[in-house]
């Protein structure tokens, strides 16, 4: 073994130790590499975003050319629906007023009034399928903060783990790293939900350690609970898909189908406290 080989092997060992330490810190609950991400990650994400927009522009142009007939039919359909809009708008205004009045009478706090919503577009995912993370085109400069909840109109999407200058990373609810407290909306039972999608390609959530006396049923809606301190309460998480009981231990496990289809998601809202 000559000198160069020895230097190379020495460098390999040193870099390996350094990287293992970095991974360990990054995987710990308090691990925070926001500064590194801001400096080095943001430019790469911007370039990828530019490429993605160019690619989707080309794809949109081709789909417009190839689907001209269906676009024309859709246009006439939309014109018909457009005529009904003023009536629906009046109805919506009336329902909003009625809803606000009822909430005030019942003394309900609306979480929507405590938060502002930053709309964002998903520009990238994890390089592989081994971790369920998204990158969005809004960052600390837009008011996004680490730990903020991310939702879509259908329900909970995940949490902000890194907030760069103009981009941020989201850890989705189906990732195993994401465990949080929820309630079964029918029974108000408190349960701990975690993602299980890393091992296989199934985008599911799991409720572990349910007692045998639990009355959870297939079809029950699961919403976030404020007792976990991670997400605001009342956000739709998913629906119970199956319940199984271990006969020896008597412990039940439930699988939950997320309300949000993460494979089709393109736009999200980041909830930031006002």
């Amino acid at each position: 073994m000559n000198k160069r080989t020895r230097i190379t092997l020495f460098a390999l060992v040193v870099v390996t130790i350094l990287l293992i330490v970095t991974i360990a810190v990054s995987a710990s609950p308090n691990g925070n590499f926001n500064a590194v991400y801001r400096v080095a990650g943001t430019p790469i994400t911007f370039i990828a975003n530019g490429f993605k927009k160019a690619a989707s522009g080309i794809s949109d142009w081709f789909s417009y050319v190839t689907s001209y007939k269906s676009v024309k039919a859709e246009l006439s359909d939309l014109r018909e629906k457009n005529a009904e809009l003023p009536v629906l708008e009046d109805e919506k205004e009336r329902l909003i007023l009625e809803n606000n009045e009822l909430r005030r009478l019942l003394g309900f706090d609306d979480y929507k009034s405590e938060y502002s919503f930053i709309s964002a577009e998903i520009v990238a995912e994890d390089v592989t399928d081994w971790f369920n993370t998204f990158t969005i085109d809004r960052g600390a400069g837009d008011g996004v903060k680490r730990g903020a909840a991310v939702i879509s109109p259908d329900g909970l999407v995940g949490i902000i783990t890194e907030a760069g200058l103009g981009t941020s990373k989201i850890l989705t609810i189906v990732d195993e790293d994401n465990a949080f407290m929820c309630r079964v909306s029918r029974t108000n039972e408190l349960v701990r939900v975690r993602g299980v999608s890393n091992e296989t390609m199934t985008y599911e959530l799991r409720i572990d350690r349910l007692s045998s006396s639990s009355s959870i049923e297939v079809g029950d809606r699961i919403v976030t609970a404020d007792s976990g301190g991670v997400y605001p309460s009342g956000i739709m998480v998913g629906t119970v898909k199956s319940v199984s009981i271990d006969r020896t231990s008597g412990i039940a496990t439930a699988l939950v189908e997320p309300a949000v289809d993460l494979t089709l998601l393109s736009k999200v809202f980041v909830m930031t406290e006002k």
Partner: protein, 227 residues
């Protein structure tokens, strides 16, 4: 200076006239044989500045394309690992030290831009490239047909290894109760589809990338051998 303008100018100048000797003689048959099966002294795996520039650009482009286009080109819910295909391909034609640094930097770029844990892809890619270069070095350097045949073994092993490390990290972070709850499902639903999809792009890129590296690898002026 490591990257100077003279080196870049030399890169483009060589690119115009850098055909292989057999191609210059006009023998298409000999040239094809040389490209796919290699030949004595026809390929140099040493480290050159032009090769460094080319490999870095290629790995970075793969990363950008992976994130901008291939996230939307899923088949059976899985996407290809274009970065893995490119770095394995380059490592097959490189000496171990060059491959090691290529893996390290491509992994770091993946980590800081799109990764979950800082250093995860850097560590994995560094070893993937180093081991590929070491494994291929004594036998197959520059022989594209052997790259194509041995490609599935490398890609499958690395995809499985990458998954194992991700699972192991999940276990470390106390997220997963056991390493594998459904090992068969893990292999069938995640590892095999991802490896096959990645191998497809490995095949597509094998000939152009190896030819380009062969051309660039002949500049021995800055050559450093790994003994």
């Amino acid at each position: 200076m490591f990257l100077n303008t003279k080196a870049i100018k030399r890169f483009f100048k060589k690119g115009k006239n850098g055909m292989s000797a057999s191609a210059a003689k006009g023998s298409f048959r000999l040239y094809t044989r040389s490209v796919f099966l290699g030949g004595e002294g026809d390929f140099d795996s040493s480290f050159t500045q032009r090769k460094l520039v080319f490999s870095a650009i290629l790995a970075f482009t793969a990363l950008i394309l992976q994130e901008s286009i291939f996230n939307d080109l899923r088949i059976m819910g899985t996407k290809p690992n274009l970065v893995l295909a490119v770095i394995v391909l380059i490592s097959m034609s490189s000496e171990p030290r060059f491959a090691m640094f290529l893996g390290l930097f491509s992994g770091l770029a993946s980590d800081v831009a799109f990764g979950r844990y800082l250093g995860f892809y850097a560590l994995i890619h560094m070893y993937i490239c180093f081991l590929t270069a070491l494994a291929v070095r004594p036998f197959l350097k520059g022989r594209i047909v052997f790259y194509m045949v041995s490609g599935p073994v490398f890609i499958f092993t690395y995809t499985l290894g990458l998954g194992f490390c991700a699972r192991f990290l999940a276990l470390y972070a106390s997220r997963a109760p056991v390493l594998y709850e459904d090992f068969a499902g893990h292999i069938l639903k995640k590892v095999i589809p991802s490896a096959l999809y990645t191998y497809f792009f490995f095949l597509v890129l094998a000939v152009p990338v190896t030819l380009a590296l062969r051309k660039l690898g002949r500049d021995k002026r800055k050559g450093i051998d790994f003994d």
